[in-house]
Symmetry: C2
């Protein structure tokens, strides 16, 4: 009796997770039930406790992942040994090192959970198989990669051409839900500025409001 209930609750939890994934896909295109089933079949579920790593620099990134719970950060160490945050990922975001995943080369990135997190992962051979077997997956990742690329281009332009104040304002406007879940140190590392400098910006902006 107990194990039956447990099974039902596990199954309904899994269903809810995959619902989140389906909603994510449907932001980009329509997908039939059977294509969605074929698409999701190779995904597996993983929990990552806070401060644990999903990927460490030097490893080959064998997965592409969809975050269903928690918050992770993708970062690397620069030449001076300083942590530089490339991006954060919360629920409904995709996460991978596309360079390492695509080229099968050691990653220079680390992916660490900032909160207890859960992800759905797919490995490279399964993803390649999907491209061949489910044409809509090709379209989906063409569109998603295009959008990610647009986002990275905007970030690059922002990093090169805007002041730290502007980049901070842009960040909190674009990702209000993210800023609340991060420490100031993490936000500073994402913006490529010191913790002290971020504090100054925040104080200045607080006065202006």
């Amino acid at each position: 009796m107990f194990s039956g209930l447990w099974l039902i609750s596990i199954l309904s939890y899994l269903r809810a997770m995959f619902e989140l994934l389906r909603k994510n896909i449907e932001k980009h295109l329509a997908i039939s039930d059977s294509d969605f089933e074929r698409f999701t079949a190779p995904f597996y579920h993983r929990k990552i406790a806070k401060k644990q790593f999903l990927l460490r620099a030097g490893q080959i990134c064998k997965f592409e992942g969809f975050v269903i719970k928690g918050c992770l950060r993708v970062y690397y160490l620069d030449e001076q040994g300083q942590e530089r945050i490339l991006y954060f990922a919360i629920e409904d975001w995709w996460i991978t090192d596309i360079d390492s995943f695509t080229n099968n080369t050691p990653s220079i990135l680390n992916i660490e959970a900032l909160e207890d997190s859960e992800v759905l992962l797919i490995t490279q051979p399964y993803k390649e198989a999907l491209y061949e077997q489910v044409p809509v997956v090709e379209k989906l990742f063409r569109i998603m990669t295009q959008k990610t690329h647009v986002a990275l281009q905007r970030r690059m332009i922002s990093a090169l051409g805007k002041t730290a104040d502007e980049r901070y304002l842009e960040f909190i406007t674009k990702y209000p839900q993210l800023e609340q879940r991060l420490t100031q140190l993490q936000v500073a590392s994402y913006l490529g500025i010191s913790h002290e400098f971020l504090s100054k910006i925040r104080k200045k902006l607080a006065k202006q409001r």
Copy 2:
């Protein structure tokens, strides 16, 4: 008689241009003759004289282009009105503002010819039609966008984490043919440093060799 020869020479020139495009595609995947013909049919040819613009900030980028001759730069003006070069494109490179092209929004980028240049262009409705009609095009752009994204991620990491010396060395090692065709001012703008600072780096490196 004269016009016949002229036509033959134009046709053979066009053939050579499309051969370059075919070689570019075949770096990524195999394409059949008939798919290649259907893919290239909507492309049109355009000459851009040195210092002319293919795109100006404020315009919607209506094209995705393949460079068959010359050299172009993609740049924008930062908040201080300074020119920032996002990337250069020479023969065998693709060029567009993917943000404006995809989202049909005014571009913040300028695309200017640094040499007399020629491009093959395709517009958005034709490209969308190709995705529907020629499945291999979907795969091609999925793979190409993925690779462009990897390149941009590497550049972002490099911009955030490396010194100007390292970024300059990386640039000349990766694109030796490009550096020879650019002014020092253009290279400096690409690296996000002043002209004077680049001169210092070059002198220092020359001494070390």
